[in-house]
């Protein structure tokens, strides 16, 4: 039984159709990633999950029950971290956390003990008395998460948690997400950063053209939608035209800087052919590598809309 289930959900804002006939099952205890380009409706899905938006059509189930019937229970069992750091900048770290603890209806003692634990978890216990606006970007993101975790929720929803963060801070946050999942919390995460999703998520759903086009574990998706492998090579003469001309049964190729990238289902046989060609043309192999497809490739395979792909890739 999934913790959340969306059945034929359509969401329309006046004339703007954002989601259409969406079906999604989010399993309990996993880190579930929702992938999609900017404006694809990821945040709308999250807000539908917590009852902030009502579906125009279809229904949202929480623990197999209609959301309307379990709205109170749901609100006390979820934590939500938005794209923008959502806390009061003029309050201290501890005041913010305790404030949300009170809003979740926790007793004072529980708030005290939970805030200590959460502050340690997010590594903010040393700045607990600092005014929130004085924190660094990464700390602010962690504080936002801490505010969502004070009531030890069953589900934590993270909307673009690594957005606008430098690589080091991103790494910190992803590490924190894993830590949150380790304590048994279901994590639902949205991002357009495929590499982030790939690092932390057990399962993903890909959102495109207003609907969910595929969901599953990362391995399943890679297996299913990207059976090709990539051969990355570089020769001394870089006469890649001759190589491409003489090999057979490849899917596609492109030149990435000084390297040739060939995508093919039977990489081993193609590699053998390439080596033979290089030998015949008296060229010299400088670099060669065979890589498994990335989530990005899966995404590319699934989203046929070239314009959208380009936009997506440009934003990377």
């Amino acid at each position: 039984m999934g913790i959340f289930e969306l059945k034929g959900v359509t969401k329309r804002f006046k004339d703007n159709l954002v989601l259409e006939n969406l079906n999604l099952d989010i399993p309990q205890g996993s880190i579930f990633g929702i992938l999609g380009i900017n404006g694809s409706g990821k945040t709308t899905i999250l807000r539908l999950l917590v009852g902030y938006y009502k579906p125009t059509k279809g229904e949202v189930l929480y623990l197999n029950k209609k959301l309307k019937k379990v709205e109170g229970k749901l609100r006390s069992e979820i934590g939500f971290t938005t794209q923008d750091s959502a806390f009061y900048p003029k309050l201290t770290v501890e005041e913010n956390i305790k404030y949300f603890g009170a809003l979740y209806g926790l007793p004072k003692k529980t708030i005290e003990s939970n805030s200590d634990r959460i502050l340690k978890l997010v590594e903010l216990d040393h700045v607990r008395n600092r005014i929130a606006e004085q924190l660094s970007g990464g700390m602010q993101r962690r504080l936002d998460m801490a505010c969502s975790l004070i009531h030890v929720p069953k589900v934590v929803i993270l909307d673009e948690p690594t957005e606008d963060l430098d690589p080091l801070l991103r790494k910190d946050i992803l590490h924190l997400i894993k830590k949150i999942a380790e304590i048994g919390t279901t994590v639902i995460i949205t991002s357009h950063r495929l590499e982030d999703i790939e690092i932390v998520c057990d399962r993903v759903a890909i959102l495109h053209n207003k609907s969910m086009i595929r969901s599953g574990t990362l391995d399943e998706l890679k297996e299913e939608y990207s059976s090709s492998e990539e051969i990355h090579l570089q020769t001394k003469n870089q006469d890649y035209r001759t190589i491409v001309k003489n090999i057979s049964q490849y899917d596609t190729y492109y030149v990435d800087g000084s390297r040739l990238v060939i995508r093919a289902k039977n990489a081993e046989r193609i590699l053998h052919e390439i080596l033979h060609i290089i030998e015949n043309t008296k060229d010299k192999l400088i670099y060669v590598d065979v890589q498994r497809p990335t989530l990005e490739e899966v995404f590319q395979s699934l989203t046929k809309d070239v314009g959208a792909q380009k936009d997506f890739l440009r934003k990377q």
């Binding site: 807000r47 917590v50 009852g51 902030y52 938006y53 009502k54 109170g72 609100r75 006390s76 979820i78 939500f80 938005t82 923008d84 750091s85 959502a86 806390f87 009061y88 003029k90 309050l91 005041e95 305790k98 404030y99 949300f100 009170a102 809003l103 979740y104 209806g105 004072k108 005014i131 505010c147 969502s148």
Partner: protein, 503 residues
């Protein structure tokens, strides 16, 4: 309760930590009332500059100018009427006074004042005080003139009193004449003068004489002839007596008439004496000012600030309440935290309640400071009004707080909200007695305006603070405002439900 307390605590922390907001919220209203209070404080008026012009200054006009200088006025003579008026226009003078050429009491005259009506705060005050000064001088002059008239009348009275003996003398002579005339008349009337020849027995006497002596006959004839002559004279005397009696009768009537005239004259003199005495007793002052008006205030307050204090207080409560709650509502609604707050199990009603209570505490503190200052500086007996004042303020503040929450809930941006708040506030002020008395409005608008919550609040506070009205006199206002409060709470909660974000 913990949630509510936490929310209120959070609101206060946010206000206190934003120093500019804290200063504006706490000191703003106090500063406002201090400035307005100073502007409307009419206990004293200082350094009023009066431009004076006259083609020719008479002793009287100089005396009036001197009178003005004795007060808090600084007069300055200017060379022309135009320069005097320009002086007012340019702010050199507050008032320009133009005296008639060679002003004299016997000639009379009209002193003209030119004032700048744009300075509404002081113009009436200046006009009033200067007119009072001129009036005083004019009254002195009238007093002197009238005193002269009264003194002359007093002289007349004295003369009359002096001549009153003569009148008594005439009266007594008249009485004597009348008595003498009566005596003469009686005497004359008592005289017997009606004799007839037949009454004398001449025939018998003649026959006896004829028989005895012829010479006696001739004597008889002579006697007879004499008797006839006497009888003729007696008859003539009788006629004259009758005529005299008639004349005496006329004379007597004239004497009676004179007596009546003297009595009338005596009456007239008495009346004149009485009237003149009356004038003296009335006094010159009452003649100069036969009817005086004395406007007695029904309150014991001294300056204009006292009268407008309740209105000022309501204005501050209204604007601060509406702006504070609506701004807080919009800030919360548009803040990044709104969504996060929304998805917690804390209801929106709780947030509304916390907004209301936070601001109720702030406005409550501000009102306490205002009342404290008012009590210290110009209201001695405000403490006696506290039992009614507190519930009245609670209802009034609550109403405007919920109105602010409602507006904050309807509007999406602070700018629109602020403009709406100010506009609504001014509409309420215009349709009240704050600027012009409500009685000056057309009947229909007046009857609508009488339901204006600002007007009701203002009236309620006026009655409680200025007149220490008992509950029965203000019960209607209490009930009306309570009704409004309940209504606005219901509308606010409905609007919250309708405009709940994220639907």
């Amino acid at each position: 309760m913990n949630r509510l307390f936490t929310l209120i605590k959070k609101n206060f922390r946010l206000i206190v930590r934003s120093k500019a907001s804290a200063l504006m919220i706490i000191l703003g209203p106090l500063l406002l009332i201090m400035l307005v209070g100073a502007a409307f404080n009419t206990a004293n008026i200082y350094g009023i500059r009066v431009g004076v012009y006259s083609e020719e200054y008479s002793p009287l006009s100089e005396a009036i100018i001197h009178e003005l200088n004795q007060g808090d006025y600084a007069t300055q003579k200017v060379e022309s009427e135009q320069a005097c008026i320009e002086g007012v226009k340019n702010g050199i003078f507050h008032v320009c006074s133009v005296f008639p050429n060679n002003l004299k009491v016997d000639l009379g005259g009209n002193i003209q004042f030119y004032v700048d009506n744009t300075k509404t705060n002081i113009v009436y005050l200046i006009s009033e005080t200067i007119s009072a000064n001129i009036g005083k001088k004019s009254q002195d002059l009238s007093f002197q003139l009238t005193k002269g008239v009264v003194d002359t009348l007093e002289d007349i009275k004295d003369t009359i009193e002096d001549r009153e003996d003569l009148l008594d003398e005439i009266k007594s002579l008249n009485e004597e004449d009348k008595v003498l005339l009566g005596i003469v008349s009686n005497d004359l009337a008592g005289m017997t003068l009606n004799y007839e020849k037949t009454d004398i027995p001449l025939g018998t006497l003649q026959s006896q004489i004829s028989d005895s002596n012829s010479s006696a006959g001739s004597a008889f004839n002579a006697v007879e002839s004499k008797i006839e002559t006497i009888l003729e004279d007696t008859s003539k005397a009788s006629s004259k007596r009758d005529s005299s009696l008639e004349k005496i009768q006329t004379l007597s009537q004239n004497t009676e008439s004179s007596k009546f005239s003297i009595a009338q004259m005596q009456k007239t003199f008495d009346s004149i004496k009485r009237d003149v005495s009356g004038v003296k007793e009335t006094g010159v002052n009452k003649i100069v000012n036969p009817i005086t008006s004395d406007i007695k205030p029904i309150t014991t307050q001294k300056t204009h600030i006292n009268f407008i204090f309740p209105t000022l207080m309501i204005m501050i409560i209204m604007f601060v309440s509406m702006l504070l709650t609506s701004t807080l509502e919009i800030r919360e609604k548009t803040s990044r935290v709104y969504f996060k707050n929304f998805i917690t199990p804390t209801s929106t009603t709780m947030f509304t309640l916390s907004n209301y209570l936070t601001n109720l505490i702030i406005i409550g503190i501000q009102s306490t400071i205002l009342l404290g200052a008012a009590s210290y500086f110009f209201f001695d007996n405000i403490a006696t009004s506290i039992p009614l004042l507190l519930p009245a303020l609670f209802i009034i503040i609550s109403f405007f707080l919920f109105l602010g929450i409602l507006l904050g809930n309807i509007f999406k941006t602070e700018e629109t909200n602020t403009i709406t708040n100010i506009s609504l506030g001014f509409i309420m002020i215009f349709f009240s007695s704050a600027i012009l008395p409500i009685e000056t409005l057309p009947t229909v608008i007046r009857s609508i305006a009488s339901f204006n919550p600002f007007f009701i609040s203002e009236t309620l506070l006026n009655k409680i603070i200025l007149f220490q009205a008992p509950l029965k006199n203000v019960l209607e206002h209490f009930l009306l405002l309570s009704g409004y409060l309940i209504g606005i709470i219901i509308i606010t909660l409905i609007s919250k439900k309708i405009t709940k974000r994220g639907q």
